[in-house]
């Protein structure tokens, strides 16, 4: 176990080194991504300055939600998105076969060898928004709120990694999965907003089969003391357990697909 962990950490270090070889490109990526997100958040801020609230959520509350969402997503995506989004190329090009002849779990190899520090821009922006909004919202610094903040972020990261893993695993069986990422990101964009503003079917979807509502809306609503539809008093425990449950589902789904893998190219 210790050897495996040390190997995975070494893979991450190698990956970071390769990224640091191109420092200018890395800085530009950080800035571009942070500005890209900041542009979207600015448009939401403009809407709020005109209308006051979105579904009863004020700008500081929305800023907290957006920051939490960006931070949780970045923590999960930095381990998974870039490499697993390429999964159909990895499968069809035969690269996945080369992973199966190594004495290591292929998912672990992909995830840790693809650790992406280019999410630095997301993390800075997300953490900055949370840090700015927290005092504005007068959320008390208690053990409960701190645990919910940290646990909620870990849960959000796990949801992100799990959803990306599940979609990528489809490529093992279907050969193609890129279009599923398009659908995932459509729902992911919705999950930036309070789920309560959507029609009931969307709310149910975001709180069940596509659990992106737990990425930010549920934990932030609990921290803000706002009611959460359908979950009520279970919202806090649901926010914390959604990530681990998604991870378990992703683990079994990946194994299911891996068992049915029939090779790619050649």
């Amino acid at each position: 176990m210790r050897d495996t962990l040390s190997l995975l950490f070494y893979l991450m270090r190698l990956r970071v080194r390769t990224r640091l070889e191109f420092r200018a490109a890395l800085l530009i990526t950080w800035l571009a991504q942070a500005f890209g997100y900041a542009g979207i958040f600015a448009s939401i801020w403009l809407i709020l300055t005109r209308f006051g609230t979105i579904g009863g959520w004020t700008w500081p509350q929305m800023a907290f939600l957006l920051g939490f969402h960006t931070l949780g997503y970045a923590l999960g995506a930095c381990f998974t998105l870039v490499q697993l989004r390429r999964m159909e190329d990895i499968v069809l090009g035969g690269e996945f076969d080369t992973l199966l002849v190594r004495p290591l779990n292929p998912w672990a190899y992909l995830v840790f060898s693809g650790f992406n520090i280019e999410y630095g821009g997301h993390i800075a922006l997300g953490a900055g928004l949370v840090a700015w909004a927290w005092p504005q919202l007068s959320i008390a610094w208690t053990t409960d709120t701190c645990l919910l903040l940290a646990g909620g972020l870990v849960s959000a990261a796990l949801i992100t990694a799990s959803m990306i893993t599940i979609i990528a695993a489809c490529a093992l069986v279907l050969g193609r999965a890129r279009y599923l990422f398009g659908i995932y990101f459509d729902f992911w964009e919705l999950s930036r907003y309070p789920a309560s503003i959507f029609a009931a079917p969307f709310q149910v979807a975001l709180l069940s089969i596509i659990p992106l509502g737990y990425m930010a809306y549920v934990p932030v609503a609990v921290l803000l003391g706002r009611p959460v539809p359908y979950l009520g008093a279970f919202a806090e425990i649901a926010a914390l357990s959604a990530g681990p449950l998604s991870a378990v589902a992703a683990f079994f789904f990946w194994r299911f697909c891996l068992k049915r893998y029939q090779g790619g190219g050649g």
Binding site: D3, S6, L7, Y10, L11, L14, R17, T18, E21, G93, G94, E95, D97, T98, L100, V101, R102, P103, L104, Y261, Q262, G263, G266
Partner: protein
């Protein structure tokens, strides 16, 4: 001796979608796809002893790569069993991976952006190679494959030949008992191919590493593998030595005789005339191991023989002839 690799009645069946023609074909394919079974590997059996070097040969789509994938644990057979080092390679994939080396000619396992030595170091950690063994193997392999000039260079700056040498060296860094090579000389120039072939031959001879090689380049097999397994349409066509291949496929030596002047009718015992006129005559000789001198002794006493050339059919020629005869049939 116990077989290090055993395949018993191995079959692999894939489902392939049948494409329908006509204007509505694609729509029908989408709504009600129809699939048919394709036997990529069809009831193949063989044993490989420790220390053997075996060429696995066949045309495109013959099932070579599928068999290699089953032996390396990438795929499971649909029927039959494969055993590598006494294990089921897919069920015990990680254990199997620790004791085999795999080189894919068209897919790199090196880290593109980093110096070559970093890929070796990663390999050491991944295969848990003790430091002393790693140092010794690395020194040996770097020297044998002449890697020292570029070991500190990022892999993306290496030529294809340099990369392939590095891939093979890396695959041997953990002292694997078996080395699987899937088209290792593809795309290499003549010099690089020669280096790779000589190296593999040496590794097989000196270290006793079992080698299984698939290739399109039959010279690879002639230089590295005394034993050849030939497959076609998923079925085993031939398993034996190259000499036995010549006998099995009826390949005959070609004898060219050149005389000082037209000798008239020339007859050689058990040799089939195969053309030529005037001073030059061609014959096909049966593979009966008779010495050339014995054959030539049948010539008339006064025949003014100037030159004799004996052409041994290469493995490529034998197999090409076989496949061409199959296509024309």
């Amino acid at each position: 001796m116990t077989a290090i690799i055993r395949a018993e009645h191995v079959a692999k069946i894939f489902r392939q979608q049948v494409r329908r023609s006509g204007m509505l074909g694609p729509l029908k394919d989408f709504v009600m796809p129809v699939t048919r079974p394709v036997n990529a590997v069809d009831g193949i059996s063989f044993d490989i002893e420790p220390g053997e070097a075996v060429g696995y040969l066949g045309p495109n789509g013959a099932g070579k790569s599928t068999m290699i994938k089953m032996l390396t644990g990438i795929l499971a057979p649909s029927a039959g069993t494969v055993s590598v080092l006494g294990r089921n390679p897919q069920a015990q994939r990680v254990l199997n991976a620790r004791q085999i080396g795999v080189v894919f000619g068209q897919r790199t396992q090196l880290w593109w952006e980093l110096p070559l030595i970093e890929s070796f170091e990663l390999h050491r950690r991944m295969y848990r190679v003790p430091a002393s063994v790693y140092q010794r193997n690395r020194a040996d392999l770097v020297e044998m494959m002449e890697l020292s000039a570029f070991i500190e260079r990022p892999v993306r700056h290496l030529s294809l030949g340099q990369r392939m040498r590095a891939e093979i060296a890396m695959a041997l860094m953990h002292d694997p008992k078996i080395l699987f090579l899937d088209e290792p000389t593809i795309g290499l120039d003549v010099v690089a191919k020669d280096v790779v072939r000589k190296f593999l031959s040496r590794i097989n001879r000196e270290r006793g590493t079992t080698i299984i090689l698939t290739t399109h380049d039959l010279q690879d097999i002639e230089e590295i593998c005394p034993r050849l397994i030939m497959v076609d349409d998923g079925k085993l066509l031939f398993d034996g030595t190259i000499a036995a291949l010549r006998v099995t496929f009826g390949a005959r030596r070609r004898l060219t005789l050149e005389f000082a002047q037209d000798p008239g009718h020339v007859e050689l015992d058990r040799a089939e005339p195969a053309g030529g006129e005037g001073v030059q005559r061609l014959f096909l000789l049966p593979d009966d191991q008779r010495p050339l001198l014995h054959i030539l002794s049948a010539l008339k006493a006064g025949a003014d023989l100037r030159d004799v050339r004996l052409h041994e059919p290469g493995i490529e020629e034998i197999i090409r002839t076989h496949y061409q005869s199959k296509v024309s049939a």
